[in-house]
Amino acid sequence: MAKRKSDVGTLYKGSPGQWSWLLHRITGVAVILFLFAHVVDTAVVGWGPEAYNRVVSVYHNWVVKLLELGLVAAVLYHAINGVKIMVFDFWPATTRHMKGIALASTIIFVLSMIPITWIMGQGILEDAGVL
């Protein structure tokens, strides 16, 4: 049988689930790697104000704040997609509406990121000297 045109040289077209599966992994790894660093930087509080204030001043840099916005997005995506996974796993009948529920969870994530980006974005732009 001849190959269809869509089989050749195009992106693999699986279920939308493959993308949420990949994003769940990427955001999860990002968050745990940040946590490794975050436990250490918070522990510095036990060495007094001078040491701790020096360490947290890193977080007040606007480039780091941009990464911080990414961290908040990663935690939220992982949380909302995690709820979606639990809905499918604990109520298997809902997998019949897999695509609709996946779309709904994506919309919830995007909508929740709008005010967060607005709030955190102002701080980033102020520190960057734009606002």
Partner: protein, 147 residues
């Protein structure tokens, strides 16, 4: 029709079509407990981690207000010390178990897999000890005038 990719690495043979059967899950033993733990801790972390991120990073100028005095004032409350410690423990176990599942998928040689898993486990245990000691022994009265 395509099925959502399984979230963990133990593929079950047989019917992969969606419907009333739902997604694959481990049939028993340690992997079933791990599967259950990820979901229950995930639900708790939904409150602890999302709450932490919104309070500390988004609300009220976010990290701009965080310094030694802020932490000292916050940790005067046993509620926040308990919150932060529970978050530390659950996030570490949830995250390192997640790393273990990913390593299962991408590292085939058992010796290397074991070595990577052990490295993460040791890092996790070390951070658990460090974080626990700091959360429960922190005493700002050592530095008068900072609170």
């Amino acid at each position: 029709m395509a099925v959502e990719a399984p979230e963990r690495s133990t593929p079950a043979p047989g019917d992969r079509s969606p419907g009333i059967r739902g997604r694959e899950r481990p049939v028993g033993g340690f992997e079933l407990w791990s599967w259950l733990f990820m979901r229950i801790s995930g639900l708790v972390l939904l409150v602890l981690a999302v709450g932490h991120v919104l309070i500390m990073h988004v609300w009220d100028d976010g990290v701009d207000r965080v310094d030694f005095g802020f932490v000292a004032a916050r940790w005067q409350s046993p509620f926040w010390r308990t919150w932060d410690w529970a978050l530390l423990v659950l996030a570490l176990i949830h995250g390192i178990n997640g790393l273990r599942i990913i390593v299962q998928d991408y590292v085939r040689w058992p010796g290397v897999r074991f070595a990577i898993d052990m490295a993460f486990f040791v890092i996790g245990f070390g951070l658990f000890v460090l974080g626990t000691v700091v959360v429960f022994t922190f005493d700002p009265s050592q530095w008068p005038g900072t609170v």
